[in-house]
């Protein structure tokens, strides 16, 4: 249990209730558009007013209230190696990599190029070695593969290169099913996968107020197999959500809760996780569509974590890390703690976003190393410190007395690494060229770190599922 989160907040109780009521009103009055017939039928059967022509479902508040009361909220996101299990909802803060960039800042050449499967493998391997990154989300797409099997090749790359829990997205019924079959092959069967979910799927509504077809198909398949689902919105305040943060929260809350409702109605046993990476639309002329990692994102993430807790759901919230740095302005990456600290202080279960720059488009290995370091400090921060006989150190203070030194004391030796986070990159010689030092560290990991490999048989099963899918896609 982290200690600091008990004492801070972005929203007071009345404000949480106001946002909740506004969300219920949006869902009842305007509803959500769901571009998937089966999900619409589920909503209709449960009591929503559904217009199959416009695909709009108006959802009575009682339905949402039932779902938030009864849905399955407790889940451990398991690693392939149980030592890396991440139990959610226990008041501990964890860190996950950013997802679905499209480029890589090449570690050898220093130039930006299109991401490939090999980059998925290598970034998963680097994340596997970093202590303060607990979960690997698919950082970049394997763009050297066709769209139809890209997601499957990515799963192959991830399971082969990290023993930590993995997160990806499920698009379309067939692909989603294949992805889950691959996870089941690694877990040792569908039942084992239910017991120890080594994968979760992040599903994203399209703001404002749409659940897109392929994404919803993914939700339904995940629900069927009881694989944890993160419903995570990506709204942009002022663009795809209101300019005001309270309004943005009311709308995104409606999007997340209605997405959760679809999953819950399909299978009440599916573990549900509340997610947000909403930001403020960049209104200034620049090449990016939005500004990640700024202080308003921190406020949205903080308040969203509070909303999730209000309902009892574990949560994943955007923490921009270095997403606003560009290849030419890397030093800005040091703004990272801004978007981490606020949500960490309300006990967000997962801070999401290590390792990408250029508005989350480009993987930078150095940024994984530095993000890991920043995360370590923030995690140390929220853990707080204990106050007891040992830590009050009364005996030692009396013993050392006036003008002495504590360097000779066993107490100092005993408590050093317990009390102090020892930074690896933030030391003087490395800081002279911190990016180069970080790059060297990443290269060292790539040269030496070998995660426990998958069994040969499992590896073959993964390949054969991909082969089957390739054949099926070719036919259709």
């Amino acid at each position: 249990m982290d200690k600091l989160p008990e004492n801070t907040s972005a929203l007071v109780k009345d404000e949480l209730n106001s946002i909740h009521s506004s969300t219920l009103e949006i869902l009842e009055k305007t509803g959500v558009r769901v571009d998937e017939e089966n999900a619409l039928k589920l909503l209709q059967n449960a009591g929503a007013t559904v217009d199959f022509k416009t695909k709009i479902a108006k959802i009575p508040r009682s339905l949402i209230e039932e779902m938030t009361k009864r849905a399955r909220k407790s889940v451990t996101l398991c690693g392939r190696d149980p030592r890396y299990d991440v139990p959610l909802g226990e008041g501990k803060v964890h860190v996950m990599t950013e997802s679905t960039g499209i480029n890589v800042l090449d570690i050898e050449t220093g130039t930006v190029r299109t991401a490939t499967k090999k980059d998925v493998e290598e970034s998963a391997r680097v994340a596997d070695a970093l202590d303060n990154i607990h979960l690997y989300s698919i950082m970049i797409d394997a763009l050297d593969y066709p769209e139809e099997i890209m997601g499957l090749e990515e799963i192959d790359a991830m399971f082969n290169n990290t023993v930590k829990h993995i997160d990806t997205g499920a698009m379309g019924a067939d692909t989603s099913k294949d992805m889950i079959r691959m996870a089941a092959a690694v877990a040792g069967g569908f039942e084992e996968l239910k017991k120890r979910p080594i994968i979760d799927f992040m599903q994203t509504p399209v703001s404002p107020l749409i659940h897109e077809r392929k994404n919803t198909e993914g939700i339904l398949v995940c629900a069927k197999y009881e694989v944890p689902i993160i419903i995570l919105n990506m709204a942009q305040a002022g663009g795809t959500a209101p300019m005001t943060l309270a309004g943005t929260l009311a709308q995104t809350n409606a999007e997340v809760l209605s997405g959760m409702l679809i999953a819950y109605l399909a299978n009440p046993n599916v573990p549900l996780i509340y997610g947000t990476t909403s930001v403020v639309l960049n209104q200034k002329f620049s090449s990016g569509p939005s500004i990640f990692g700024l202080v308003e994102e921190a406020l949205i993430s903080t308040a969203s974590a509070q909303l999730a807790k209000h309902y009892g759901f574990p949560c994943v919230v955007g923490a921009g890390f270095a997403a606003h740095a560009t290849t030419d302005s890397r030093e800005v990456g040091f703004l990272a703690p801004m978007s981490l600290v606020f949500p960490a202080l309300v006990g967000a279960d997962i801070l999401y976003g290590v390792g990408l720059i250029d508005e989350a488009k480009t993987l930078a290995y150095e940024e994984m190393i530095l993000g890991n370091e920043v995360a370590g400090m923030v995690l140390r921060g929220v853990r707080g410190f204990e106050v007891n006989d040992e830590t009050l150190a009364n005996d030692v203070i009396n013993k050392v007395g006036h003008g002495g030194t504590f360097l000779h004391e066993k107490h100092t030796l005993r408590n050093l690494t317990k009390e102090v986070f020892i930074p690896e990159m933030l030391d003087k010689p490395k800081l002279q060229d911190v990016l180069r030092s970080a790059k060297e560290r990443a290269k060292h990991i790539l040269a030496t770190h070998k995660p426990e490999p998958l069994d040969k048989e499992v590896k073959e099963q993964l390949r054969s599922i991909i082969k089957e899918a390739t054949r099926r896609e070719k036919k259709s």
């Binding site: 571009d35 399209v206 002022g238 002329f285 090449s287």
Partner: protein, 216 residues
């Protein structure tokens, strides 16, 4: 003319579309030539665009000035110009839409607006547009440029499909193709067989002008 420009400029900067439409109506009623009003309006919009580019205005200013201008053009000026059989000078015709499978359109809408405010005739056919509809609308509208948007890495390849479909329908030599969207790159533009690419809305307009052989 300069008097007209300054009136329109002052009015558009109130960001009140209703009031702006009224102003334009009044201006025509008072005897101003609709074509001249359109030209003055284009002048004003160019200024607004410049102010956006140099950071003086935010996106919301650009969009709302554009909304007002578009309403005044469609509701007041175009019908009059059509009646009078005069011709409005446009930079070119652009057909724009987000490709099939992608329902994201905020970026496309901004480009669409910027093209309009820069003096292009724009037919925005919306989002998640089936490939065959791009072909059909290209035949009907006869554009100089077809602009394709995609936000998802998974729908980016659909841009190439649209280009292939236009080729198959024999329309490819008649149009220039512009692609855009967050995952699009100059390299992708080349690979997909497009003629141009804009990293952002301002670049998209520049690329469109380049394709039309217009110098800035």
């Amino acid at each position: 003319m300069s008097n007209l420009v300054s009136t329109l400029r002052n009015e558009i900067l109130t960001f009140d579309a209703d009031r702006f439409v009224e102003t334009v109506k009044k201006s025509v009623d008072q005897g101003n030539d609709p074509v001249e009003v359109v030209n003055a309006l284009t002048e004003v919009l160019k200024e607004v665009g410049k102010k956006f580019e140099n950071g003086e205005f935010f996106l919301v200013h650009l969009v709302q000035a554009g909304d007002a201008a578009k309403r005044a053009t469609v509701e007041v000026l175009e019908p009059l110009i059509k009646k009078s059989s005069q011709k409005r000078e446009m930079l070119g015709k652009v057909l724009i839409g987000t490709v099939a499978g992608d329902i994201h359109d905020i970026g496309k809408n901004i480009v669409s607006m910027m093209l309009f405010t820069s003096g292009f005739e724009v037919l925005d056919i919306g989002k998640d547009i089936p490939t065959e509809d791009f072909v059909k609308k290209t035949k009907e509208f006869n554009p100089d440029i077809v602009a394709l948007s995609a936000l998802l890495t998974t729908t980016l390849p659909v841009q190439r499909e649209v280009i292939a479909a236009l080729k198959k329908a024999g329309l490819r030599p008649k149009v220039k193709i512009l692609i855009g969207g967050a995952p699009a790159t100059a390299k992708w533009a080349e690979e997909s067989g497009a003629d141009g690419y804009g990293e952002d809305a301002v670049e998209a307009v520049r690329a469109a002008k380049r394709l039309m052989g217009i110098r800035e």
